[in-house]
């Protein structure tokens, strides 16, 4: 083909321009360290790396949330550990107070110790996270959840909200437990709570309840034993009353009384009109603070000159409190184990999360990161090509017939 001089210049410049463009591209890739400078370079790869970047960012957020959850759960675990030891202390004191040789003064001393334990428990129930956020208040963490009332009772003013945290893609975990489920709840399988009515005048002392037949149709009901006399006899009825009403039975001290699959013995001499209640743990009042307050009151009551009747009152109050505190202790242990298993789960989630982030990162790197060796080699190749274009252009451009004239 006939080449016009203008065509020669134009084509040469186009070639050099293209080479410079390629060189600049490689140079930019080297500068950014990325294969993909614009989505048009690799639309599929760009979209995929967007998705991966989001996944990595989410993973980092979950990691941060897990750290937060671990922190609050560890704080809760510490607080519950102290609660457990305080409750154990209280149980020890209750057993000690049951010693028949104690004087009023001895019991008052134990009552004082119990009161300080109760205050300690109250303080632990109002544990905060160090920033004024109360751990056991549910959502209402701005104010102390357990408030002492004018009459000395302790009322829960938090709510039952679970502070859920997104610790993994499809896992929301409660960062704390609310105070009600720790201090004012008993487990479903908690033991029966027996109690004597405050107005009892006899010296009847109830013993431990034992389950002899959990298949009994009346098993699990609340029972009331009402005494009548003379001769001393009792009626064991449920709440609400059985139909037909059960017949009265003759009372014999220390012989087991059947209460629908349960057995309980009563010793001493109950008076007419005395009642004893055997309730499921749920119905007997589940507030551990109230249980301890009640027993402190009973221990502070003087027995001097009261005879076996006054002794019986103290013993019965101690048995009731002991059972309630044991139930509360079991409940706290259950919550503690749930906290422990949540902490374990967080560890397991952290391992999976880290693995996923690592996989995502290596995939993302495959997609968009530049292979420097290849890129630098390409850079030199393109540079050589540009130099060749320039040199050949200048050489050819110099050739002209005029040179020979």
């Amino acid at each position: 083909m006939r080449i016009s001089t203008q065509t020669f210049y134009e084509r040469s410049m186009t070639a050099i321009g293209a080479q410079q463009g390629n060189l600049l591209r490689v140079q930019q890739q080297l500068g950014a360290g990325s294969k993909i400078l614009a989505p048009s370079d690799d639309p599929l790869g760009a979209t995929r790396s967007l998705a991966l970047s989001q996944s990595i960012a989410l993973g980092e957020q979950y990691t941060a949330t897990r750290a937060q959850a671990t922190q609050t759960l560890t704080m809760e675990e510490n607080a519950l550990q102290s609660v457990t030891s305080v409750l154990q202390n209280i149980k020890g004191l209750l057993v000690q107070a049951g010693n028949g040789t104690l004087t009023d003064a001895d019991r008052a001393t134990i009552a004082t110790t119990l009161q300080s334990n109760l205050d300690q428990l109250h303080g632990l129930a109002n544990t905060d996270d160090g920033n004024g956020q109360f751990l056991f208040a549910g959502f209402k963490s701005g104010s102390a959840p357990f408030v002492k009332q004018a009459d000395g009772s302790i009322l829960y003013s938090g709510d039952q909200g679970k502070r859920l945290m997104q610790v993994d893609v499809s896992r929301q975990m409660a960062g704390t437990d609310d105070g009600r489920s720790i201090f004012q709840t008993v487990q479903g399988g908690a033991g029966y709570v027996s109690s004597s009515a405050p107005g009892n005048t006899g010296s009847g002392v109830f013993g431990a309840t034992t389950v002899v037949n959990s298949a009994d149709p009346n098993y699990g009901k609340e029972w009331v034993i009402t005494f009548s006399s003379p001769p001393t006899s009792y009626t064991a009825d449920t709440v609400p009353p059985l139909v037909p009403a059960p017949a009265p039975a003759v009372y014999a001290a220390d012989s087991p009384i059947n209460l629908g699959g349960l057995q309980m013995a009563i010793s001493g001499v109950p008076a007419a009109g005395d009642t004893f209640k055997v309730a499921t743990a749920k119905n007997a009042g589940t507030d551990v603070f109230a249980a301890i307050s009640d027993v402190i009151k009973a221990l502070n009551t003087s027995t001097t000159g009261g005879g076996p009747e006054a002794q019986a009152k103290v013993l019965n109050a101690l048995s009731t409190a002991n059972r309630k505190v044991t139930n509360a202790h079991d409940n706290v242990l259950t919550v503690r184990s749930s906290v422990g298993s949540r902490l374990n789960e967080l560890d397991a989630l952290a391992v999976t999360g880290d693995n996923r982030t690592l996989t995502d990162k290596s995939y993302l790197s495959d997609l968009q990161d530049l292979d420097y060796a290849t890129a630098i080699a390409e850079f030199y190749q393109r540079q050589t090509a540009l130099q060749a274009s320039q040199q050949t252009f200048v050489r050819i451009q110099q050739i002209s017939l005029f040179n020979y004239l």
């Binding site: 083909m1 006939r2 080449i3 016009s4 001089t5 203008q6 065509t7 134009e10 084509r11 186009t14 614009a38 989505p39 048009s40 370079d41 690799d42 639309p43 599929l44 760009a46 979209t47 967007l50 998705a51 989001q54 989410l58 956020q133 208040a137 549910g138 959502f139 209402k140 963490s141 701005g142 104010s143 709510d159 909200g161 502070r163 859920l164 945290m165 997104q166 893609v169 929301q172 002209s400 017939l401 005029f402 004239l405």
Partner: protein, 112 residues
């Protein structure tokens, strides 16, 4: 979720907001925000690529046409130089003929 007065640690709404990240809210409930953005990026990227390729093809076509046009009507310096030399030589040759003719004519007129 409604307001929970006093519930200062109530993160329920924050959790719901966070869940929007992966919820299929876009494209008639078929894509999450990121999916939709990814689709947009992919579609823009593909269009750009198409346009770039079309642009390259067009430039190449223009270059071809221009070369053909230039091959017919363009000027080649060497060609023109050669023509110039040719015409110059022709001119010189003609001048030489005229000079010779003039010399001959003068010689004839000198015969008396």
């Amino acid at each position: 979720m409604a307001k929970n007065t006093g519930g200062v640690s109530d993160g329920s709404n924050a959790l719901l907001l966070g869940a929007l990240q992966n919820k299929k809210t876009m494209g008639n409930g078929t894509a999450s925000f990121n999916d939709a953005f990814g689709q947009l990026v992919s579609s823009v990227g593909n269009k750009t690529r198409q346009v770039q390729i079309a642009g390259t093809a067009q430039t190449s076509l223009t270059t071809q046409i221009r070369s053909v046009q230039q091959s017919v009507s363009g000027v080649n310096q060497d060609e023109e130089t050669a023509n110039l030399l040719m015409f110059q030589q022709m001119y010189q040759a003609n001048a030489k003929v005229i000079q010779t003719a003039s010399a001959m004519f003068d010689a004839i007129l000198a015969i008396r």
